[in-house]
């Protein structure tokens, strides 16, 4: 405590060598109170001691710490008063007025409290007029417009020693009056001349205190705040972060913390999502039914054990974080409660530009028909009816026109019917949502044309289901359809299981069914023993596809488009049944169900699958992980009797070649050449001129002949 602490304020213009001046600088002053608050004041415990002569080293250090106590800085007048007081040789503590508790004060306050006892002792030893002077000290305050914002006390610029001036305190007539008589002190009391050095210091401080029109913060206050902050927080190596601290202090001044009663508008979406997710976690139903629910829930539910799958996938380094997985689990549970679901599985996550999709693969219970699908179909059929009607009208009009406009020979390719629900590509229903807690949306069934087009384009998903897919060739549908088509393709290509997990049911039909299409259903093998993990990793023959391959047509089971077309032709009237009707369309055959992965086609000398052990350090407890190279993001794991597939990625196929959009179709011929309409090239200029010349020659030749004949005739006549 004996060592004077370092000077907190940078005061380059002060003479720093004199200890007395240092001491005087460290005196805390204070005192003035803005007049309105004087009456409310209860003098707080903190006292500021005024150091008289240089000997009061202890006080000096204490007062230095009290520098942080609040109080507005002194105006010139106050400083003068204080100077008077001190030079008068009277030591009097001045109270800190109007010290509202401020954040930086605590340190100063505590220290000040310790000093208070010291001060009190001195007080008692002081002169009798002390209290009177104390009182007058209150009144000597000048109104300070900076008021409560200033956390720092003004500094007293007095020299306490060797001052040749007399005891100003005593001379000041104001001091002799009691507070009640005085009221406000007028500014222009008799003031003796201050020393030039003091004047310079006061000028400097006044300069630092000035504020500008654009900014209400003066440099003085800012430096006070900055140094207070540094001293309170005590960061390491403050010089290196000085600029940042400077910037943040300024920022904090102009952006005070919001009142706790007001809502932070930025955090609204966070809270909203949190509310929704909270709803996931709350059990539905009153507390009274708690027991019953427990029993029901312990029985089989359609919700899969997501946490277990997440754990295994985590071993492989794939998957979302565990709390996210749990939220997905709760969201799936919510879905199961809302819809009549027989089996449910977490299919995966598809990343999008603005939002991502969480996809759940679901199978409805038997007999639950999807009402949405029927509505859509009805609309389509209605549309078709209108088209045919319009065609007929158009044809009638044409007949009336004598000049028959040749009909275009182009016919749209036949629409391949989509597959039934619960079969082929539409075997499962898919629900999507953006984040767990948000409502699940059902995706429509996929049509073959959508799959065919989806193969030709490559577009990122935006995250909004109703966004249009702008591409060439134009995709028939919006993002929901495109998403569904990609899901279908990914499922067909990457859903695999260990060999033997699924087997074909005991069917009476052989493999020689129509066109060798093979079976399209499977069932779980109850005798599945599990394949050792090492074997699963070694050979791809131990894994099989359990989803049907999608043919080029866009379906899993082939449908001859021509048969349908012939039906349509019967309805149509004057359609040309020329060459097209009898085209031979080859039946498309794909690999049958449950084909091992070793049969998959290679991509550029690269196997389409990569298999690994999840942990090479402990093969006994590892899990076999298979990663698809064709669809990056598709993973499957198998361990013992358990296996699972998942897809987390952007939803696009990997192709080593660049994506080349298809070129536009070639220009169609206008008319076929027939005797009526034959296209000939126009004669060129030379040909025309040659023809003209030849004609003129012929003309002149015939004229000459006529003249000759006439001459002959004339001659004959003359004879």
């Amino acid at each position: 405590m004996g060592d004077p602490p370092p000077d907190p304020e940078p005061r380059p213009q002060q003479p720093s060598s004199r200890r007395s001046s240092q001491v005087s600088q460290r005196r805390s002053r204070e005192l003035s109170q803005p007049p309105p608050t004087i009456s409310e004041e209860v003098p707080p415990i903190a006292f500021d001691g005024r150091v008289l002569q240089g000997g009061q080293g202890i006080l000096a250090s204490q007062t230095n710490l009290q520098d942080w106590s609040s109080g507005p800085p002194l105006t010139q007048q106050e400083m003068f008063q204080a100077e008077e007081a001190q030079l008068g040789g009277v030591e009097y503590p001045s109270l800190n007025m109007g010290f509202q508790p401020q954040p930086y004060l605590e340190e100063g306050g505590i220290q000040a409290a310790r000093n208070a006892s010291l001060m009190l002792q001195q007080l008692q030893q002081g002169q009798g007029s002390l209290f009177q002077q104390l009182d007058s000290a209150y009144l000597e305050t000048q109104p300070n417009f900076l008021g409560q914002f200033n956390m720092y006390q003004g500094e007293d610029l007095q020299f306490n020693q060797g001052a040749p001036h007399g005891p100003y305190m005593r001379d000041d007539p104001a001091l002799q009056y009691s507070p009640s008589e005085l009221g406000f002190m007028p500014f222009n009391m008799e003031v003796p001349e201050p020393e030039p050095r003091e004047l310079a210091v006061q000028n400097a401080k006044a300069y630092l205190l000035q504020t500008s029109v654009s900014c209400s913060l003066s440099l003085y206050e800012h430096l006070v705040n900055l140094l207070t902050k540094i001293l309170n927080q005590r960061p390491e190596d403050p010089l290196s972060i000085l600029e940042s601290l400077n910037r943040t202090t300024q920022w904090e001044w102009f952006h005070p913390r919001l009142d706790t009663m007001r809502d932070d508008p930025e955090m609204e979406p966070t809270y909203e999502t949190a509310d929704r997710q909270k709803a996931l976690f709350l059990r539905s139903g009153a507390a009274g039914e708690g027991e019953q629910e427990m029993e029901e829930e312990v029985a089989e539910t359609a919700v899969p054990n997501i946490m277990e799958s997440a754990f295994y996938f985590e071993q492989a380094g794939v998957g979302l974080s565990s709390d996210e997985s749990f939220r997905i689990f709760m969201a799936l549970k919510q879905l199961v409660e809302q819809q009549p679901i027989h089996t449910c599985r977490f299919w995966g996550k598809i990343l999008g530009l603005s939002r991502s999709y969480l996809v759940a693969e679901v199978e409805f219970r038997e007999g639950e028909e999807e009402g949405e699908e029927e509505e859509v179909e009805e609309m389509m059929e209605g549309g078709e009816g209108l088209d045919t009607h319009a065609e007929e009208e158009g044809e009638e009009d044409e007949e009336k026109v004598t000049d028959v406009i040749p009909k275009p020979t182009w016919k749209p390719p036949p629409v391949i019917p989509k597959e039934e629900s619960r079969s082929g590509t539409n075997k499962y229903l898919y629900f999507v949502c953006n984040e767990p807690g948000w409502p699940w949306t059902r995706l429509p069934h996929v049509t073959p044309i959508q799959i065919v087009q989806a193969r030709k384009i490559k577009k990122f998903f935006t995250g909004y289901l109703d966004a249009p897919v702008i591409s060439f060739p134009p995709f028939p549908g919006n993002e929901a359809n495109y998403l569904r088509a990609q899901i279908a393709r990914i499922s067909a290509a990457t859903h695999i299981s260990p060999l033997g997990f699924y087997q074909f049911g005991e069917e009476e039909g052989d493999e020689e069914e129509e066109g060798g299409a093979g079976r399209d259903s499977y069932e779980e093998n109850p005798d599945f023993e599990g394949i050792p993990v090492l074997e699963l990793v070694d050979s791809m023959a131990n894994w099989v596809h359990h989803t049907q391959h999608i043919l080029l047509q866009g379906r899993c089971t082939w449908v001859n488009p021509l048969q349908k077309m012939e039906e349509e032709e019967e309805l149509g009237e004057e359609e040309e049944k020329a060459d097209e009707g009898i085209e031979e369309v080859e039946q498309e055959v794909g690999p049958p169900l449950l084909t091992p992965l070793s049969e998959d086609a290679e991509i550029m000398h690269m196997s389409p699958w990569t298999a690994r052990l999840s942990c090479s350090l402990c093969p006994q407890y590892s899990v076999a992980v298979v990663r698809s190279n064709l669809w990056p993001g598709a993973y499957a794991y198998a361990s013992g009797k358990k296996f699972e597939n998942i897809y987390i990625g952007w939803g696009h196929k990997y192709s080593p070649e660049n994506f080349n959009p298809p070129l536009p179709a070639p220009i169609q011929h206008e008319y076929p050449s027939s005797p009526d309409v034959m296209e000939m090239t126009d004669p060129t200029v030379e040909e025309e001129q040659a023809l003209k010349a030849a004609q003129e020659q012929a003309l002149t030749a015939s004229e000459e002949e006529e003249e000759d004949e006439e001459e002959d005739e004339d001659e004959d006549l003359e004879d």
């Binding site: 985590e314 380094g317 974080s321 990343l351 990122f460 690269m606």
Partner: protein, 276 residues
């Protein structure tokens, strides 16, 4: 991502679906501290993972005091033993630009590339097919360099430039505010600025030279090559690059945590303009 906050960073970056298995995480925590000690780096970053056909490469980078100085890159196949990679040069990048396809996973694997080279024998000049061998290590180096130059991201304010030149981590960085976090202009490329000098004087007047000394993501070509999303309500902002799919940058607004990780095949998405 910083090796010191590895676990939290992995947790936050897990939205992209690829992460690390527990055994790898444990090995990384140990081995990266050892790397820091052995090579005397100021900071060690776990850069990410490049998926190969046979094995995966785990990449780490070591930084010195000056954050923008060229970084040392290390790779490992098992997250335990790290080998230093040579720094990337222009020649390397040029040479490996012809190699396409996936990484094998074997650093000594050599890609064969046939090209026509002019050989001169005596007075005749003819072209001959020459088979050039390119090592996978070279390809790895150049791919990492390209990814860093193209898509390494840092939020504005996380680094600051001192008047003496070196770039330091800003210890008073408190995170971006929510409104700033949704804008691409608050994120910078973590590399030497290329476009900064092309800005007009008017634009430069608004910049703060100690904070805005790198290119922002806003003017990347093609426009829209970054996907910026808020996850977990507004508690996490995730930037994913569409040009190099697999690069994820995450930042929790109003907190200090930020980092990026690349988990992918190491191939550029050349089809990006078609896909947007």
């Amino acid at each position: 991502m910083d090796a010191e906050s590895l676990l939290l960073s992995l947790e936050l970056a897990s939205g992209s679906g690829q992460g690390l298995s527990p055994d790898r995480r444990a090995s990384l925590l140990t081995s990266l501290t050892l790397v820091k000690r052995d090579y005397r780096y100021d900071r060690v970053l776990f850069w990410g993972r490049i998926l190969g056909l046979v094995a995966d490469y785990y990449i780490a980078q070591g930084l010195s005091e000056d954050q923008l100085a060229p970084r040392k890159t290390l790779y490992s196949l098992n997250c335990m033993e790290w080998s230093l990679l040579p720094p990337a040069t222009e020649d390397m990048v040029l040479q490996t630009s012809v190699v396409k396809g996936r990484f094998m996973g074997d650093p000594s694997h050599e890609y064969e590339h046939t090209e026509l080279q002019k050989m001169s024998e005596g007075e005749k000049v003819f072209e001959e097919e020459v088979v050039v061998q390119i090592k996978e290590e070279t390809r790895l180096v150049s791919v990492i360099d390209q990814i860093d130059k193209a898509v390494a991201v840092i939020p504005r304010g996380a680094l600051f430039k001192t008047p003496f030149g070196p770039i330091h981590v800003n210890r008073t960085f408190e995170g971006l505010s929510l409104s700033e976090a949704k804008k691409l202009s608050s994120y910078f490329h973590f590399r030497e600025p290329v476009e900064l000098k092309n800005k007009t004087l008017l634009e430069k007047a608004d910049l703060d030279p100690s904070l805005d000394f790198m290119d922002s993501l806003e003017h990347d070509i093609p426009k829209g090559s970054w996907s910026i999303q808020m996850e977990r309500g507004n508690a996490l902002v995730v930037l994913r690059s569409l040009l190099w799919p697999g690069l994820t940058f995450f930042h929790a607004p109003r907190t200090k945590s930020c980092g990026s990780i690349y988990v992918g095949t190491g191939e550029k998405n050349i089809d990006l303009p078609f896909m947007l």
